[in-house]
Each structure stands twice: as structure tokens, then as C-alpha cells.
């Protein structure tokens, strides 16, 4: 809170209007660029989210990188995922940002706007840039500059037990274009419930604490209905977009699933789907390798999310890496990021996490995402971005948008009035944009 005290000091000296007391000031500083050489041995710090296999793989790669050369040493500091965004903002406010930052994709625009990140354009080689998935560069770009790269992408989909669907005579979609319609999906959930599955859908509401899940997984509902989290023509308002009649209707269908008890809201882990008590699961592509395939075997089918009117949509984007303004020698930091993007490291991450590699040349070698692989529909969605895999809104207002929408999803799933919940989300988003003067670019 050092900066707040400074700010308070400034304020009490009635210097409020002078720029001496302005915010992070990072935007004013000249951003460092890559010049192709690493200047002497340097130790870099990096934040890392989460845990489990993903983190172990990352740490192994950090170790391998540190051992591979003697110019750069990377030290990793773990930050819990649930409050990761808050931790980063607090670190930025107190000038304690690490040199290398990992972040859930869409927060990038706010960090870049704040001047916390430096553009990577001078670091990335044209060959590498051309090899990155279009969804990855779309997600990493703000104001025409690339600020983040991810070593893998992601997607949301439905998993189901084929046998359970056959049991109730449900049609099994063969691709994204013949996804279940919302009514069809609701009907199938009802039939499954009648067949004895008390809560047939596992929507992973317990992920709700993990910051992004509600926005990442359920905004495709709004987008599929023809709405969106914000009007993307100028990113200045969500009014009429997030609370449009189509969005309200789609979210009412979503609410109906909860009211009818179709959704297992009490689960605290993956067990409802693994035990087949909920034969349909709304989950990310990571679940395939993390137990689903093992539990269901050949009975497992991967399906697109339901179509609410304008075609099936899905979420995309994952954790990315950027270089912060604390870095004096971006070449050193980039050397590390480039290392993470190397084919063998991407494949290692793919094998342990099951995520689609972000380089097209590597993605082709990932079996489950291959053309006839079990998750081919994820690859297709990502390649068809933004028509199918929709990036979360590329605006510095994103932290406010995701918080408002997540609150709305929670309220709606608990029986709150749909129109009121979305109107309130719109009010909060628009308020945030107004408060920030429409987020003008600071150069």
C-alpha cells in the first residue's frame, strides 16, 4: 500500500490535480525493447498461478531453462489462482511486480493499459509469430501491439457418456454445426433426469471461486444467443448487448436448468461426471486428459456447447506470459519465454496438461487435437476464431466486466431475476468505463 500512502500524502498537501501524484506512471516511462543480446548474467523473478501437474511441468521447464545456459536464472514465486488478479494488481500498486508475469489471458489489456507490460513485438521473430494460433495472437494483442504469448490455448465443451445419451434416445451431434439447440439440450437433460440421473449436468459451479470460470465457460451462452459481454464496436458500453432480450432469454434457459435441478450445484470436485451420476459435463478441454478419458473410455463423447440461436460458440484463451516494466533487459526474459514455446516443451505441457499447443506446427503433432482425434472440435473452434471460439473482450475494462458477469451468473444460477442481474452487471461495467474516461490510450 506504499503508493496509497504516498497518494494520501499528496492529497493532504492539496496537490491533487498535479501529475506528480498520478497513478502507476509506468505508461510514461520509455518501454524497454529487445535488442537481441542479453547483457550479462541476470536473475529474473516470475509469478506463477495454480498448482498440480501444470505447475510441476512449468517448474521442470524453469529448471531445464536455468540449466541450459548461464546468462539468465528464473526464480518462480507461486500465487494462488483464486485471487491471482487481486495479487497482481496489489503488486503493481506497490511496485512489486515480477519481471515475468503470467496472467489469465483477458486481464492483459488492463495490465497493458496501465503500462505494467511492455510490447513483445521487438522480441518475437516473424517465423514464430506466423506459427502461433490466430486465437493466441488475437488474445495477446492490445492496441495493435503484442503483449502476451501463451504456450497453449483452450476451449470449453460438453463431455457425455454415449451410453447415457443412447439410453434416452438423444441425438448425438457429429460436429459444431449440428450442435444441440438450447431447447433440445434442455429436453435431453429432462429425459436424463427422468431416467434416474438426479442432476444430469455437471457445470463445475465449484470452479466459480477460480476467478474466470463463470465468464469463460458461460459467456458463450450469451454470445451464442447473439449478445455479448460488451458492445465490441467501440468497447464503451454493455447496455443493449449484455442485457439484450436474446441474452436475457438465453440466461433464463440457463436458470431453468438450475430450477429444474438438472445441475449438480453441490459438487466440490469432478466426481459427478467421473461416477456417471451426472452423465453430461460442461468443462474445459483439460478434463479429457485429467481423468475423463480414463473414467469413461470409449463411452466418452466430446460435443460442442448448445446453440442458443446464432450457432454454437466456445470460450478460448488461457494463461499467458508477458514481460513487465520492471524488466531492464527484455532479451533475458524473452529468452525464457521462447524456451517455453519450443516444440519439446510445448509437447511436454500438452502431455501432462492435455492442452492444445499454441504453435500450429506443434498442434499438428498433438494426437488428441488431430483431425480425427477425440477433441478435434476444439482445434476447429480455435482455427475458426472468433466465429466459434470467441476471445474475451479485448479492453482494459475486462476485470470489471468479468467480475460483473460472474456475479450475474451466480445470482441467476441461484434463482435471482435474470433481467435485473444482467442490468446490474451492465450498470457496473458502464460505470467502470465512465470512471476511467472510456479508457483512453496512454502513450
Amino acid at each position: 500500500m506504499r503508493r496509497s500512502i504516498v497518494a494520501a500524502g499528496c492529497a493532504s498537501l492539496a496537490l491533487l490535480t498535479t501529475t506528480a501524484c498520478s497513478g502507476s506512471g509506468g505508461a510514461a516511462a520509455e518501454a524497454a525493447t529487445c535488442d537481441g543480446t542479453i547483457d550479462g548474467p541476470v536473475t529474473l523473478t516470475s509469478f506463477y498461478h495454480g498448482g498440480g501437474a501444470e505447475k510441476e511441468t512449468f517448474l521442470a521447464q524453469v529448471e531445464a531453462f536455468n540449466a541450459s545456459q548461464d546468462q539468465v536464472t528464473v526464480e518462480v514465486q507461486s500465487v494462488p489462482e483464486g485471487t491471482y488478479g487481486d495479487s497482481v494488481r496489489a503488486a503493481a500498486a506497490s511496485g512489486d511486480l515480477p519481471h515475468i508475469l503470467d496472467f489469465d489471458g483477458p486481464n492483459l489489456y488492463n495490465y497493458a493499459w496501465n503500462g505494467d507490460l511492455i510490447p513483445l513485438d521487438s522480441c518475437v521473430s516473424p517465423e514464430l509469430k506466423a506459427d502461433l494460433l490466430p486465437s493466441i495472437t488475437a488474445q495477446g494483442t492490445y492496441d495493435g501491439k503484442l503483449y502476451g504469448v501463451g504456450s497453449f490455448d483452450s476451449g470449453v465443451l460438453l463431455y457425455a457418456y454415449r451410453s447415457a445419451l443412447e439410453e434416452v434416445g438423444a441425438r448425438i451431434p457429429t460436429g459444431i454445426d449440428d450442435a444441440w439447440t438450447a431447447e433440445e439440450f434442455t429436453d435431453i437433460l429432462g429425459r436424463l433426469q427422468d431416467a434416474g440421473y438426479d442432476s444430469p449436468l455437471d457445470a463445475h459451479m465449484w470452479y466459480g471461486r477460480q476467478g474466470e470460470w463463470f465468464s469463460y465457460a458461460f459467456s458463450p451462452i450469451v454470445q451464442s444467443a447473439g449478445g455479448d459481454l460488451i458492445d465490441r464496436t467501440d468497447f464503451s458500453s454493455a447496455d443493449g448487448t449484455l442485457n439484450s432480450p436474446e441474452a436475457v432469454e438465453a440466461m433464463s434457459v440457463f436458470q431453468e436448468w438450475f430450477e429444474n435441478g438438472y445441475v449438480d450445484t453441490e459438487a466440490q470436485d469432478d466426481s459427478p461426471f467421473l461416477n456417471k451420476t451426472s452423465p453430461i459435463s460442461w468443462n474445459g478441454m483439460w478434463a479429457y486428459a485429467n481423468g475423463y478419458h480414463e473414467a469413461a473410455g470409449d463411452d466418452l463423447v466430446a460435443l460442442p456447447l448448445p446453440d442458443f440461436g446464432t450457432g454454437s460458440k466456445t470460450g478460448m484463451g488461457s494463461w499467458q506470459f508477458g514481460i513487465t516494466r520492471e524488466t531492464e533487459d527484455p532479451d533475458a526474459a524473452w529468452a525464457f519465454l521462447e524456451f517455453l514455446l519450443q516444440e519439446e516443451n510445448q509437447l511436454m505441457t500438452y502431455e501432462t496438461v492435455g492442452a492444445p499447443p499454441s504453435r500450429i506446427s506443434v498442434l499438428e503433432k498433438a494426437e488428441i487435437y488431430a483431425e480425427d482425434g477425440p477433441l478435434a472440435l476444439v482445434t476447429e473452434s480455435l482455427r475458426e476464431s472468433p466465429r466459434i471460439a470467441v476471445p474475451r473482450p479485448q479492453t482494459p475494462a475486462y476485470p470489471a466486466i468479468t467480475q460483473a458477469f460472474a456475479q450475474a451468473v451466480d445470482d441467476i444460477s441461484n434463482g435471482g431475476d435474470v433481467q435485473a442481474a444482467l442490468d446490474e452487471a451492465v450498470r457496473r461495467i458502464d460505470q467502470d468505463i465512465t470512471d476511467n474516461g472510456g479508457y483512453p490510450a496512454f502513450e
Binding site: 500500500m1 496509497s4 500512502i5 497518494a7 494520501a8 499528496c10 492529497a11 493532504s12 491533487l16 490535480t17 498535479t18 501529475t19 501524484c21 498520478s22 497513478g23 502507476s24 506512471g25 509506468g26 505508461a27 510514461a28 485471487t83 488478479g85 487481486d86 494488481r89 496489489a90 503493481a92 500498486a93 493499459w113 496501465n114 503500462g115 505494467d116 459451479m205 465449484w206 466459480g208 471461486r209 450445484t265 453441490e266 466440490q268 476485470p399 470489471a400 467480475q403 460472474a406 456475479q407 451466480d410 445470482d411 441461484n414 434463482g415 435471482g416 467502470d432 470512471d435 476511467n436 474516461g437 496512454f442
Partner: protein
């Protein structure tokens, strides 16, 4: 120190403290000594005063100043003075009033329940029963547990499927009562109340225990001689003897109750949920300041929160002073 022969608690004979200066001492000496005492007093209180200024007064002044600005957690935009805008926004926000109401409801339920339970436990473990040290330890253990851990454990106990609480309820009510504790708007607050009382009651119990042991045994002997039964002894000896302890416990419990945060952050699926039924002022403060980055607006909440707790405490102090006057 009372003389060793006096019964514990017997008032020491009134009189000037033994080391008071002789009245004949010259005024100059007295002044010099006063000066030395003053210096020593200042010196001894200095660390505490510095810490208080640094960690209590300065942040509060800082919050007060910030509450009139649009200070953000991080933003390249210059900070500007916005007058009462933050206060207007906070006070017209239904969510804020909901949070305040939850805080008040929580305090109204928890303070009497927890204080009563603590008193009951203290009386219980104050008896000369075998194994009473063990019981004291058991009742006090939750207090030593970090609230976050307690909340996590209770979250598991309260799970509708496979949670122990519903398992017991299932047996007791033949499956009639199976609340979805943390996912239902009507059960979430009771769940938080149960957890909070379980965790906090041991602390109050220990304070009551200390209070109980300060009541002279001779009073009970006299009461027994007068033929008072157990209830009459409790009513006429124990309760009056505990009056100051009781006031202290009530004060502390009220302040703790308004600080409610860990439980409502950890236990519901979504902090403060479902449908804001467990949202509290502290949660509102944190989410406004850190989640939404609105430091100015969060400061306004902090100031309002401070004034509110101050008002409650002043009312309580007034009440407790009257109680002391009775004594």
C-alpha cells in the same frame, strides 16, 4: 497485594498508597520528580504511540483523504478530487445496505448466543469434575484454529451429500431435514453463524472462567449458609460477580461480529453468496478495493464502517458505565 491472611478478593483497607510522597517535601523536589515520571512515562508509551500512529491513525487519515478522491489501485490516470461522490455511490448501493443488514443480523444472533454458550461452558468447566482440564482444552481448541481452516473444515462438514452434519440430521429427523447449507439463501447465514460460534466460543469461555475464579469462594459459602439453591447462587452471586467480565465479553464479541469476513469469503460457493445472503461490509470493502480496484470508494466504505462501529461502541460504553455505577 492484600495481606496473606485476608480472604482473596477482600477489599484492602482504604488509605493512601504506601509510597506517596511526604506532604512536607519541598515543592521543587516534587516538580522534578513529576518531570522525571513524565519523561519516563512518555518514553515507555512511545513505542505504542508510534505504532498506533503508524498503523491505526495514519491509515485512517489516509482512508479519509482517499475517500474524497477517485484513487484507483492501479491506473495511469491522474487522481482527482471527487467530493462526496464515493459516499453517494456507497450509500445508494443496495448491495452495501444488504451487507450492512447482514452484519447487524449476524451480530444480533451471534452476540447473545455466543455469550450465553460461553457462560454456560465456563460454569460447566469451572466445576470440580474429573478431567475438567481436558474439557477446557477441547472447548478452547477451535479458538486456536485459524478461522480460514475452521471455515474450510466446516464447509466439508456442511456438504449436503456426504457431509457429517446432514448425516446426523438424516438420522435424527428420519431424512426430513436435509438443508443445502451453503447453497441456499435461508441456510447459508445459519451455517456461518454455527461455524463462527463454534470457533469463537472458547475464547469467551476462558475469559468467563477467569471471571468466575475471581469470585470469592466465601460468597458461595455464605450463600449456602443462607440456604440458596444452585440457581439462586448463580443468579445472585455468579452473575453480579461477572458483571464487568460480561460487559467486556459483549464489547469484544460485537466488534468481532462486525469484522466477519473469513467465513463468508471461504464457505459459500461464491464469496458472499448465494444471492448476497452472506455478504458483509468487510467483503464489500475488499471486493471494491482489490477486486474492482476502486480504492477511493473502498475508503469511503471503510470510513462509514468506522463511524458505524464507533457509534455502536459508544452506545455500549454508555451502557456499561451505568452498569459500573450500579456496582
Amino acid at each position: 497485594m492484600p495481606p496473606a491472611t485476608a480472604a482473596p478478593g477482600t477489599p484492602v483497607a482504604a488509605g493512601p498508597p504506601g509510597r506517596s510522597a511526604p506532604a512536607t517535601a519541598p515543592a521543587k523536589n516534587r516538580r522534578a520528580r513529576r518531570g522525571r515520571e513524565l519523561r519516563a512515562g512518555l518514553l515507555f508509551s512511545l513505542p505504542a504511540v508510534v505504532l498506533l500512529l503508524l498503523f491505526m491513525v495514519a491509515p485512517f487519515v489516509s482512508a479519509l483523504v482517499l475517500s474524497f478522491t477517485d484513487q484507483r489501485l492501479v491506473s495511469p490516470r491522474p487522481v482527482s478530487f471527487v467530493g462526496l461522490e464515493n459516499y453517494v455511490r456507497v450509500l445508494t448501493d443496495a448491495q452495501f445496505w444488504g451487507a450492512l443488514t447482514n452484519n447487524v443480523v449476524f451480530a444480533l444472533i451471534v452476540v447473545p448466543l455466543q455469550t450465553g454458550a460461553a457462560l454456560g461452558l465456563a460454569v460447566l468447566v469451572n466445576r470440580r469434575l474429573p478431567g475438567r482440564v481436558l474439557f477446557r482444552t477441547i472447548y478452547f481448541l477451535p479458538t486456536v484454529t485459524v478461522m480460514a481452516v475452521a471455515a474450510t473444515v466446516w464447509k466439508l462438514l456442511l456438504l449436503p451429500d456426504g457431509g457429517m452434519v446432514n448425516g446426523v440430521l438424516d438420522t435424527l429427523t428420519f431424512g426430513q431435514l436435509q438443508p443445502g447449507w451453503l447453497s441456499s439463501t435461508s441456510w447459508a447465514m445459519p451455517a456461518i453463524v454455527i461455524t463462527s460460534i463454534w470457533q469463537g466460543v472458547g475464547f469467551q469461555m476462558i475469559i468467563f472462567l477467569a471471571g468466575l475464579q475471581a469470585i470469592p469462594a466465601s460468597l458461595y459459602e455464605a450463600a449456602t449458609m443462607d440456604g440458596a439453591n444452585a440457581w439462586q447462587q448463580f443468579r445472585n452471586v455468579t452473575l453480579p460477580g461477572l458483571r464487568n467480565t460480561l460487559i467486556f465479553v459483549l464489547n469484544v464479541t460485537v466488534i468481532f461480529a462486525f469484522r466477519l469476513f473469513d467465513q463468508v469469503y471461504i464457505m459459500p460457493q461464491f464469496p458472499g453468496g448465494p444471492l448476497d445472503s452472506t455478504r458483509t461490509m468487510m467483503l464489500q470493502l475488499l471486493q471494491t478495493g482489490y477486486g474492482r480496484g476502486l480504492i477511493g470508494q473502498a475508503s469511503a466504505i471503510a470510513v462509514i464502517f468506522f463511524l458505524f462501529v464507533l457509534a455502536v461502541t459508544l452506545v455500549q460504553r454508555r451502557f456499561s458505565r451505568e452498569e459500573r455505577a450500579v456496582q
